[in-house]
Amino acid sequence: MTLENYAQLSNYAVASATGILALAFVAYVAQWGFARKVAPDRELVTAGSVDAPTSGSDPVERSNMAGGIGLSLTTLAAVVLLAGVASRGLAAERVPWGNMYEFGCAATLAALTAYLVLVRVWEIDWVGPIITGFGTVVLGASATVYVPAGPLVPALHSYWLVIHVLGAIISGSAFLVGAAASILYLVKSRAERNTPEDRRVGFLWRIPSSAKIDQVAYRVHAFAFPIWTFAALIAGPIWAQYAWGRYWGWDPKEVWAFITWVVYAGYLHARATAGWKGKAAAILALIGFATFVFNFVGVNLWVGGMHSYAK
C-alpha cells in the first residue's frame, strides 16, 4: 500500500470507530435504562426460578443483553481504532501522536484499552457509559482539528516524543477511568446515604458499593500518578533541556501539567486526611482530570505557548 492508501485507511477506520463507539454508548445507556425499575437482588430470583422468561422481555435480561452489546461494540471500536491509529503511523512514517488530532485518537484508544483490560480484571463495566460517551466526544472533537498525515515539525524530531507523549497518553487514559469511577463514587455514596432500603431500584444498585468503587478509583489513580510524574516532570524537562535550553520554563502547557500534578498529589493526600476522605477526595480527582482536559484542549487552542502542535 502507498502512504496515501494508509492515510485513507486511517481516516475511514477512525470515522468508523467513532460511529461504533457512539453505538456502544447507546447500548450502555440502554443497559442502565432497562434496569431502572429493577431491585438489586432481582437477578438471583430469575436465575433461581426454573421457568424464567427467556424471550428478552424481562428487564434484567434486556439490561444484561444491552450491556453485553455495549462491551462487544466497545471492543470492536477499540480494534477498529487500533487499525486507524496504526495505519496513521504507517502513513506518516512515525509514531502516530505528533499533533492534537493524533493525540486525541491515540489517547482514546489507550482509554478504551485500559477500560477493556480493567473490565476483565475488576469487572468495571459500570463505567462503560462514561468511558464510551467521553471517548465518542474526544474522537468527534478530534475530527475538528484534523490534519492530513505528514512528517513532524522539527521541534518534535526526537525520541523523547515517543516517551514523553506516550507517558501522557497512558496516564491520561488512566485518569479518565479514575474520573469515571470518581463520578460514580459520588453518585453512589450520595444514594447510599439518602435512599431508603425499599426504594433502592435501578442499575445504580446493581453496581458495587461506593467503598469498592472508591478502591477502584484509588488504584487507577495510584497507577496513573507515577506515570504522569514521569511524563510531565522527568521526560518533559529532559527533552525541554535539549530542545529549548531549559528544563522548566513555565510554558502554559508546563504550568497546567504542574497544576494537574499538584491536584492529583492533593487527591492522594486527601484520601489519608480526616474530613477530606471520600467526597472531597473524589471531587479533587475530578478537578485533576478537568485540568488535564483543559491542558489538552484549552492550552492547545486558546492559550498557546511553545507546546502548540495542534495543527
Partner: protein, 524 residues
C-alpha cells in the same frame, strides 16, 4: 461564660500552635491546592521570564489594566512574593512533616512488632480454626506462612493456660518510600534554586549575512540571570552565522507549509585566539561550549535594506529581522533610521514570503512560509524616533508619539518592494530591498547542577512507587491447647485501610494451613 474561659496563649504556646497548624496534613493539603491555583495566572498572562516582548505588547494593548496587573505581579507570577510565599510555606510544612516522621520511622524500624490486641473480633479481619498439630507446630507453620515479616513469639499465661502469641509486621518500606519521595521534593527545589541563582539565560537574534555574536551582556536582546551570577563570568565565546536553512512541506502536498527542518550553520571560537570551528545547530541538537549551550529557538526572514536620505547619503544598509506572526510567516518588522537628515525616519510594515493576490486587490496575504514571492510593505514616519531620551527602546517597537506619518492624499503612503526593487521616499530619499536573508533566534544559557533536580525527581518517583505499592500489614496469631485440639486465632490489620483485607486473610489462611499440613506430614 466567664471572661477567662479561654486562657491567653503565651508566645511559646502560640508558636507551637502555629507550627502544629502549619505542619498538619490539612494545612499541607490546602497549601498544595493554593499552589495549583496560584500557578494559573502565569499561564493566562504573558510572563517576562518567558516572553518579554509579549508583555510589552500587552502593555501597549491594555494601557489601563497592565500597570495594575504588573503591581500584582501578574507578569512575573513565579517570582512574585505571593507565589513565593505559598511555596516557601509549603516547603516549611513539608520539612516540618518529614523531620518528626523520620524520627518516628527510625524508632519503628528498631521496634518489635506490637503485642496482639485482646479482642481479635474488633479488628477489621479475623478468623479462627482448630487443628491437631501442637502449638509449636502452629508457630513454626506461621513463621513459614508469614515469610519476610518481622516476627515475635511470646508465651503468655492467661487464666492458668499457656497461650502462644505470634506478632508479625511487614511493609516498613512503604514509609521509607514515602519519606524518600518527600525528601526528594526538597532536593528538587534546592537544585532548582541553585540552578536559578547561579545560572543565566538570554536570547539573541542574529542575521545570516555573516551576523556575529560575542558572549557579553550588551549583545543580548533578552537576558536574565540568577542573583548570584556575575555577568563578568560569561564565557568569552563568539560565533558568526553564515547560513540559516528552513525547509517547509511544499505547496500542494499534505500539510503544505508545515515546517520540516530548521538549521543554523556557521563558525565559532570557544575563547579569543582559538581557531574557528564550524557549528551546525538544529532544533533538538544544541551547540555546547563548555558549560554553556546554544539553542536554535526560532528563525525568520531578514530583508536587507539600503536607505539613502534626502542628502543622498547612505544612512542605513543592514538586514532587518521581521518577526513571524503566523504559520505562513507573515512577518512584522520596523526600521529605525536615526541618521537620516533632515528628519529621522521610521518604517513599520510587513513581510510576506509568498505573497498572493486576493480578488484583484493588493498583494496582501502569504500563501506559504517559503520565500517563493517575497514582498515587503512599509508605512513611513518622519520626526523624532525618541532614541535620545536615554530610555532603552525595543528594536521591535516604533515609538510614534513624536513622529508624523507620510500620507498619499487621504491614504497612508506605502512602499511595496520585492528583492532588487527600490522606491522613492516623499522626503527625497530612496529605499532599496537589496536581498533577502534569514535570521535565527538563539537561546544561550547555563544552569549549574542541572542533574540535581533530575536525580531528585527520579529518586522521588522510586519512593512514590514504593509507597503506593507496598502494603504495611500487622498479623497476629494466638494459639492454645483446648483438650486434644489446638485452637488458632488469626487477625490482620493494615496501617492503610483497604477493603480487600478479608480476601487477603483467606489467602493467608490457605498458605498458613498448607504450611501446617507440611509440618504435620513431617512430624507423623
Amino acid at each position: 461564660m466567664s471572661s477567662n474561659a479561654v486562657p491567653a496563649l503565651g508566645r511559646r504556646e502560640l508558636t507551637r500552635w502555629f507550627w502544629r497548624q502549619l505542619t498538619s496534613m490539612r494545612t499541607a493539603l490546602l497549601l498544595l491546592l493554593l499552589l495549583a491555583i496560584a500557578a494559573v495566572p502565569g499561564s493566562l498572562y504573558p510572563q517576562r521570564g518567558v516572553d518579554a516582548r509579549a508583555v510589552e505588547t500587552y502593555f501597549l494593548e491594555h494601557p489601563k489594566s497592565a500597570p495594575v496587573l504588573d503591581n500584582l505581579g501578574m507578569f512575573a507570577v513565579y517570582s512574585s512574593p505571593w507565589f513565593s510565599a505559598v511555596y516557601l510555606l509549603l516547603m516549611v510544612s513539608l520539612i516540618g512533616c518529614i523531620l518528626p516522621r523520620s524520627f518516628v520511622y527510625l524508632r519503628a524500624v528498631r521496634a518489635r512488632p506490637p503485642r496482639a490486641p485482646r479482642n481479635f473480633a474488633r479488628l477489621p479481619a479475623s478468623a479462627s480454626f482448630e487443628t491437631d498439630a501442637s502449638t509449636a507446630d502452629v508457630v513454626a507453620a506461621a513463621r513459614r506462612a508469614l515469610g519476610r515479616s518481622r516476627i515475635d513469639v511470646v508465651d503468655r499465661d492467661v487464666d492458668g493456660e499457656t497461650v502462644r502469641e505470634v506478632s508479625a509486621e511487614k511493609g516498613f518500606l512503604r514509609e521509607a518510600g514515602n519519606l524518600l519521595f518527600h525528601v526528594s521534593i526538597v532536593v528538587v527545589l534546592i537544585g532548582v534554586a541553585v540552578g536559578t541563582l547561579f545560572g543565566y539565560r538570554g536570547s539573541v537574534i542574529v542575521t545570516d549575512d555573516g551576523g556575529q555574536f560575542a558572549n557579553s551582556l550588551p549583545q543580548y536582546d533578552e537576558f536574565s540571570s540568577g542573583t548570584l551570577f556575575d555577568s563578568s563570568e560569561l564565557p568569552p565565546f563568539a560565533f558568526t552565522l553564515d547560513q540559516v536553512t528552513a525547509r517547509f512541506q511544499p505547496f500542494g502536498s499534505p500539510q503544505a507549509g508545515a515546517p520540516r527542518e530548521f538549521r543554523a550553520q556557521g563558525t565559532y571560537t570557544a575563547k579569543p585566539g582559538d581557531a574557528d570551528r564550524p557549528f551546525d545547530i538544529t532544533v533538538n541538537h544544541p551547540l555546547s561550549i563548555g558549560s554553556t549551550s546554544v539553542y536554535l529557538l526560532g528563525q525568520g526572514y531578514a530583508p536587507v535594506f539600503k536607505i539613502t536620505d534626502a542628502q543622498g547619503n547612505v544612512v542605513f544598509n543592514d538586514a532587518v529581522p521581521f518577526l513571524p506572526a503566523d504559520a505562513t510567516y507573515t512577518s512584522n518588522g520596523i526600521i529605525k533610521v536615526p541618521d537620516a537628515e533632515p528628519e529621522q525616519l521610521g518604517f513599520q510594515g510587513f513581510f510576506l514570503p509568498t505573497a498572493v493576490t486576493q480578488g484583484g486587490k493588493e498583494l496582501s496575504t502569504s500563501a506559504h512560509p517559503a520565500a517563493a514571492n517575497p514582498l515587503v510593505g512599509l508605512n513611513v514616519w518622519h520626526g523624532d524616533l525618541g532614541l535620545d531620551e536615554g530610555r532603552s527602546q525595543s528594536v521591535f517597537i516604533l515609538d510614534k508619539s513624536k513622529m508624523q506619518q507620510y500620507k498619499n492624499g487621504a491614504q497612508a503612503f506605502r512602499v511595496s518592494l520585492q528583492p532588487g526593487m527600490s522606491a522613492d521616499l516623499p522626503d527625497g530619499g530612496t529605499i532599496e530591498f537589496t536581498e533577502l536573508r534569514q535570521f535565527a533566534r538563539f537561546q544561550i544559557g547555563s544552569s549549574p547542577l542541572v542533574k540535581v533536580p533530575l536525580f531528585g525527581i527520579v529518586a522521588g518517583l522510586i519512593g512514590l512507587m514504593t509507597s503506593l505499592t507496598i502494603k504495611p500489614r500487622r498479623t497476629w496469631i494466638r494459639t492454645r491447647r483446648d483438650g486434644s485440639r489446638t485452637v488458632v486465632d488469626v487477625a490482620v490489620l493494615d496501617r492503610v485501610p483497604r477493603d480487600d483485607l478479608p480476601a487477603d486473610l483467606d489467602e493467608f489462611l490457605e498458605r498458613f494451613k498448607d504450611a501446617l499440613g507440611d509440618t504435620e506430614e513431617k512430624t507423623v
